[in-house]
Amino acid sequence: MAEDGNIIEVKDLFHAYGDVQAVDGISFAVRKGEIFSFLGPNGAGKSTAINVLTTLQRLQKGEAMVAGFDVSKESQKVRESIGIVFQEVTLDRDMTVWEILEFHGRLYSMGREERRTRIEELLELVELASKRDVLTKHLSGGMKRRLEIARGLMTRPIVLFLDEPTIGLDPQTRIRMWGYIQEVNRQGTTIFLTTHYMDEADQLSDRICIMDRGRIIARGRSWELKNTLGQDLIYLETSDNDEAERILGSVPDVKSIGRKSKGLLVMITADGTHLLPVLIERLREKHIGIVTVNLKKPSMDDVFVHYTGREIRDESQEKQSTAPGRK
């Protein structure tokens, strides 16, 4: 089934835990050398998809190929080709930073010299060189995450899976992590990442699949996805939203209008800076008062809301504020 240039190919993948259909029939392909992301809220099935692709869970139904190998039949070969950073912290609390990386290098049969130089490089990169001999239980949440990312980068895999890589990191560190990830990608590693941060998917990835409730509901490049919402978005609160919706709906450059709790979200196919005064004029003519106006470029958040009909749920906020970890 492998097609040239695709490093991951998935066809009609289903995965259930008892009654819960976590992955409900997804098909997609990841091209060699790209950064590809799964964007979706909690429980969308992102981690489950990763677990199946990384052979940690048996493939139940469908076909999946990673790095040219069949996930269900050639799992050993798949494991030799990939690296993973898990969503949850998977660091032994009683090993030192250096030991964690050394252990990982040995697991992947890296040579002694290669291991030693790579560890030094990575400790510099993630700024943990001074913590070399510290037990991981004495690291802060963000340091643990950095260590795990360093560990994922140790072996220069063909495909690197990153399950919510920047969860629990402060904004500067997140941006630095994006930098490392892009650097590794430039050196030839294909990146598959999952996230529920819109900006992460937006900034980092070449292509995005939006996932919700086990299905892929939209896919494409970041700008393509945003363009489906039109060129600009105008948010309006008026004295009579129903009437305003009817009036604006007949304007040719208005693509569609969404209802919000207090106002209207108008997607337009023309340049908003020119169209906005026209729209306001139309409403004035009908004596509709305008309370608030906002003009903006569509963001990934808007894309998500557009496709799912709801905001990325609040749990993601909670997750962001608590440090990662099982303890």
Partner: protein
């Protein structure tokens, strides 16, 4: 040869020396057994055995020496049965994912855990032998230095194969269980019959027939036979019972242990091949 099992071994030994209380208790506990149980019981058993006539010319072995072999065997049994529990902790704390997602062949996980458990059993056996000799266990009595070394190697060989068998067993259970409590339950349930249906602390000759039969199939009995053969001798009396082992008997015991270890390895391998973690 792929040396991945050494990676698992290395990590497990790091943990062994890092958890000081666990390390020290695992070293002191067998010595305490020898000191309290051994010295207290030997007064009893030696008095009981004293009146029984023995064949002239054969060796009479004090109870302390007799049970010294039993304590080595028992300690090896416990240490090995619990040796796989680290896998269960690794699994529950998510650490097993790193290993299972890596290219390390899964049988190397089993081998690595086996090797480190075996090392721990060796250390404990040496402590028991050393401490035992101090408090009067008559191991290697009248042996020339070369014979002593051969005897030690023989004891180690038996301890090694036996501990591997139970470590593989423990690994198989651990990777299949969800909680440490479950594992503990199974182990507790098993240790009783294994331990008491053996000749670790007393002779089996007075057992009911079915228990005697059971003890013949008990790996622990075969380990103890091996240890006594090498550390005490091929023929001796203790607590009024005559013990005699031919090299063929010992070879049979060894074969039983090897068979046990190999089958347990196969079981563990199967469990690891189908293991998934979330």
């Amino acid at each position: 040869m792929h040396t991945g099992f050494l990676t698992i071994y290395w990590r497990d030994m790091i943990r062994f020396v890092r958890f000081r209380t666990l390390l020290i208790s695992s070293l002191v506990q067998p010595a305490l057994w020898m000191a309290f149980f051994g010295i207290a019981m030997s007064a009893n058993f030696d008095r009981l055995g004293a009146g029984i006539p023995i064949v002239p010319g054969s060796i009479q072995v004090p109870y302390l020496t007799f049970m010294g072999a039993g304590v080595i065997a028992m300690t090896t049994l416990f240490t090995s049965l619990f040796g796989g529990i680290v896998l269960l902790f690794d699994k529950n704390w998510g650490l097993m994912r790193e290993i299972l997602a890596s290219p390390l062949p899964r049988n190397h996980i089993i081998l690595g855990i086996g090797l480190s458990g075996m090392t721990k059993s060796f250390i404990q056996a040496f402590i028991i032998i050393g401490f035992g000799l101090l408090i009067g266990v008559g191991f290697f009595a009248g042996f020339a230095p070369v014979d002593t070394i051969i005897a030690l190697l023989g004891v180690m060989l038996f301890v090694a194969v036996f501990s591997l068998g139970f470590l593989f067993f423990s690994a198989a259970i651990s990777i299949s269980m969800e909680t440490p409590e479950g594992l503990q339950g199974i182990i507790t349930l098993l240790t009783m019959p294994i331990f008491f249906a053996s000749n670790a602390l007393y002779p089996v000759s007075a057992f009911p027939v079915f228990l005697q039969e059971l003890s013949k199939w008990n790996p622990l009995t075969h380990l103890i036979n091996g240890i006594r053969y090498f550390a005490i001798g091929d023929e001796f009396y203790s607590i009024g019972v005559h013990y005699s082992q031919t090299p063929a008997d010992i070879f049979l015991s060894f074969s039983v242990l090897v068979g046990f270890a190999v089958s347990m390895f196969l079981v563990a391998w199967w469990r690891f091949r189908v293991a998934v973690v979330t």
